[in-house]
């Protein structure tokens, strides 16, 4: 085997061999997007460093390209350079306990300051020189703190807007509560628009915003439909493909090209469903991966296939999310509609993280496990991710829900980080998984005999 072939083969092992055509179609799309970020200023576009759950429609309407830390962190991880940037951030005093997506980008920014440009080692030539930093605290604290700290290295305007969450026990349909949140979101979105207008010198085009909102809704419907298809047995979209296919949904959600892309994704998955196509001739086991994966080793899913005949479903990346009720969307008033959409959990999700829907949400997931004939669940406990530092509680709730259903599905916790591969021990983790699979096999046998 040539050196190049060996390198490609090793890369494939780590980033996963994809089963679907559309997962493989993401690579040129991603490359094109990062090229576009790099060349944004030449085209009169602007770049915002930001994080997931911002209203992408506003960016689209104002020729601002978002660059997401939650994507560039995994890109660096997949290129096996995550720890390098993390260490640079740590050398400046940032704790190893801070989100590794953010540590990666902080380390990258520090290098940018030293060099005046992206370092050579930055994948895809970097993630676009930012013209602005747009932050909110939705979903986790790191979001607004990290971008504030980017100010240590890059002299770029920073903007933070607020997003509250529907608290526990509140009735989402209470008119006073609904008005309270929607008024707040709308006021904050207007601030955001005013800030972007100031930085770019361009006014928000309402028609373009309306177009962006329409595109967003179409992509969200496709994503939701895709998620329904992914419930099919055998698994039409293995986890290694799901992890990749989410890229346009994050970066380019409002683009017409993205609609085309996800229509093709839907069509391919539908074809696989209609023809019972899986990348395993026999799904001996069906595993669910809970939430975040080790981005430096997406190939772990191929290993599970080869070692155990186990297919893995990762609902977090297999599409889905809330499609806001159509009646709250008025394309003649797009900004107001986006504020209402935020309230009803349209991808942004008031109540997506901190409300008392958490309990029922986990109960639904527990019953989905039965419906999807899941034999075992694997999750990572990630020291650097505070938003997901609730895995053990989640397992308890799953198990309590499954017990009520009279079903036993084993869970496994592995300790590793999502980007910082220094935390990942291949030997230890695979030994753990091997032992776990024996438990999975035993539990499956009992279910089949009607014992559990």
């Amino acid at each position: 085997m040539t050196e190049q072939a060996k390198e490609r083969s090793q890369e494939e092992v780590m980033s996963g061999r994809k089963a679907t055509d559309m997962a493989q179609a993401v690579r040129p799309l991603r490359r094109a997007y990062y090229t576009r970020l790099r060349e944004a200023h030449q085209r009169g576009e602007f770049v915002a460093w930001t994080m997931w759950l911002v209203p992408e429609e506003i960016f689209y309407a104002m020729d601002v390209l978002p660059s997401f830390a939650e994507n560039y962190g995994p890109v660096c991880a997949a290129k096996q350079i995550g720890p390098y940037f993390c260490e640079i951030a740590e050398s400046d005093g940032f704790s190893m306990d801070i989100c590794s997506y953010l540590r990666t980008n902080l380390g990258l920014a520090k290098r940018m300051r030293e060099l005046g440009d992206f370092p050579e080692e930055a994948p895809y030539g970097g993630c676009g020189k930012p013209d602005m930093l747009i932050a909110n605290a939705h979903h986790c604290d790191g979001r607004f703190k990290y971008l504030q700290q980017i100010g240590r290295y890059l002299d770029v305007p920073y903007f933070a807007y607020d997003v509250g969450d529907l608290p526990y026990g509140w009735n989402i349909e209470n008119p006073a509560i609904r008005k309270h949140f929607i008024d707040h979101y709308y006021a904050q979105l207007k601030r955001l628009v005013a800030f972007i207008e100031k930085v770019t010198g361009k006014k928000l085009n309402k028609n373009r915003l309306s177009e962006a909102l329409q595109n967003w809704m179409t992509v969200q419907r496709l994503s939701s439909a895709q998620a329904e298809l992914c419930k099919h047995i055998p698994n039409p979209l293995p986890a290694q493909d799901a992890a990749t296919i989410g890229f346009p949904n994050m970066h380019m959600k409002c683009w017409p090209e993205t609609i085309e892309f996800y229509q093709k994704v839907y069509d391919e998955i539908k074809y696989r469903v209609d023809n019972n196509i899986s990348n395993l001739s026999e799904e001996k086991y069906r595993l669910q991966w809970y939430l975040i994966l080790p981005w430096y080793y997406i190939g772990i899913y191929n290993w599970l296939e080869q070692e155990f005949g186990a297919t893995t479903i990762n609902p977090t990346y297999a599409g889905g999310g809330v499609v806001p009720p159509e009646e709250i969307i008025d394309y003649d008033f797009p900004l107001e509609s986006i504020a209402r959409k935020m309230y009803y959990g349209g991808g942004v999700g008031v109540g997506s993280h901190r409300d008392d829907a958490y309990g029922p949400k986990l109960a639904r997931m527990a019953s989905n496990l039965v419906e999807l004939k899941i034999d075992g669940i694997i999750g990572m406990t990630i020291a650097s991710c505070r938003a997901t530092s609730n895995l053990y509680d989640t397992w308890r709730r799953f198990q309590d829900g499954l017990k009520r259903a009279g079903v036993s599905i084993p869970t496994l916790t592995i300790e590793a980080d999502m980007v910082d591969s220094r935390t990942y021990s291949d030997v230890l983790i695979k030994d753990k998984i091997r032992a776990f699979m024996e438990t999975v096999d035993a539990a499956k046998g009992e279910r089949q005999r009607g014992v559990a």
């Binding site: 400046d92 989100c99 604290d141 309270h180 990630i382 509680d393």
Partner: protein, 388 residues
């Protein structure tokens, strides 16, 4: 050295070590008691409802035998300690508890607590992260929802008059604590750091009038102190999140230094600024609890970008150097609890800011346990030698 009897100080020590004692007595008398986390929580609303607001504090000396198996390893150790105490029944006297949207760690613990213990009554209040006018109005509405919820709990209205009275009482408390804090200015200070922590632990477990009376009686006692704190070469300021146990300060004092000032959740953040008296008391509460808390969770400068990086750093940390100057501090310890993202993110900025102002800085990242505190001895010793 004259040995004096300090009645008020002894009472403080006793209340600090047995915080539940007075709460249990009040409970038997029919008083409602609600626990709360964080300096962002508007205690005046509970006081106005004749409810005792009881600040949650962990137990550094208690191994987290019940909470640790339940929680993720990467949850805040201080919150796990509080949760551990609750599982062990040490907070059974509470009628419920409330929390502001302080941080992701509180969000997680809230979930675990709800599921594991199913408390009878809880409330979660959103607190914005940004200081623009819309956020103040939004927060005012949140305070109103909280007020209405508490009214439902006590089956009675909380009038504006009662709120104004509660604000006056808590402002009086803040003023008394500031006076006490002033007594740490002399060299040597008349009150050392570990004693101040004990005062705050006691105050946060008592009804406001009783707490005020305690501090009122303590001040002349300390002012007239003759068996003073030994003169120390070094005066330190501690910055960080929840530092609710005297152990760290006692360690520092044991090494011959004094903690004379602080900026943390149980310290000056709790009492340094008053609630402004406004026609609508909720306006005053909104302005205070959002604008006067110098916690890293608040983006200062209205969140609209900063006029300059220097101005942003001054907005965020200028008050720390003011404390350091006013209290003649010659060294600063950044005492960071593991997994406290909000403070951890700020470490490089505050470290550099303080160093540029000429202050030696020691950054420690630690757990919430006696072993963790003891493990800092050598580092603090070395720091004190370095600044000699």
């Amino acid at each position: 050295m004259v040995k004096q009897r300090h009645q008020a100080l002894e009472k403080v020590r006793e209340l600090s070590e047995n915080r539940e004692r007075r709460a249990l007595e009040l409970k038997r008398e029919g008083c409602k008691i609600l626990g709360y986390f964080c300096s962002f929580f508007p205690v005046e609303i509970l006081t106005a409802a004749d409810i005792l607001p009881y600040r949650f504090i962990g137990d550094l000396k208690e191994p987290r035998t019940e909470a640790d198996p339940y929680c993720d390893p990467s949850n805040c150790p201080y919150l796990k300690s509080c949760f551990d105490m609750a599982i062990k029944g040490r907070y059974d006297f509470l009628d419920g508890w409330m929390t502001p949207d302080a941080c992701d760690n509180v969000s997680n613990i809230y979930r675990f607590w709800m599921y594991r213990l199913a408390p009878a009554y809880t409330y979660w209040i959103n607190v914005p992260n940004v200081l623009d006018e819309d956020c103040f109005q939004y927060f005012k509405r949140e305070l109103n929802f909280l007020k209405e919820n508490v009214e439902g709990f006590i089956q009675s209205k909380i009038t504006d008059e009662k709120l104004h009275q509660a604000i006056d009482l808590h402002n009086e408390q803040r003023a008394l604590l500031r006076r006490l804090q002033e007594l740490r200015k002399p060299q040597p200070p008349l009150l050392n750091g570990s004693e101040m922590i004990k005062v705050l632990r006691a105050v946060m477990s008592l009804p406001v009038e009783e707490a005020n009376e305690l501090v009122r009686s303590l001040i002349p006692e300390i002012e007239g102190r003759k068996d003073g704190i030994p003169r120390s070469q070094h005066r330190l300021l501690v910055w960080g999140p929840e530092i609710d146990d005297p152990a760290l300060y006692e360690l520092i004092e044991d090494l011959g230094a004094n903690v004379v000032a602080d900026d943390h959740c149980i310290g000056t953040r709790f009492f340094w600024y008053d609630v402004e008296k406004m026609a609508d008391p909720l306006d005053g509460l909104s302005k205070h609890y959002l604008g006067d808390q110098y916690c890293p969770r608040i983006i200062r400068g209205k969140g609209e970008g900063w006029a300059s990086r220097e101005q942003d750093l001054k907005d965020r940390f200028g008050h720390v150097t003011r404390f350091a100057k006013d209290f003649s501090v010659d060294g600063i310890i950044l005492y960071i609890m593991k997994y406290c993202d909000l403070h951890e993110f700020d470490v490089p900025d505050i470290r550099d800011y303080l160093t540029k102002q000429g202050y030696p800085v020691l950054h420690v990242e630690t757990d919430y346990s006696m072993a963790a505190v003891a493990g800092l001895r050598t580092r603090i010793e070395a720091f004190l030698e370095m600044i000699s």
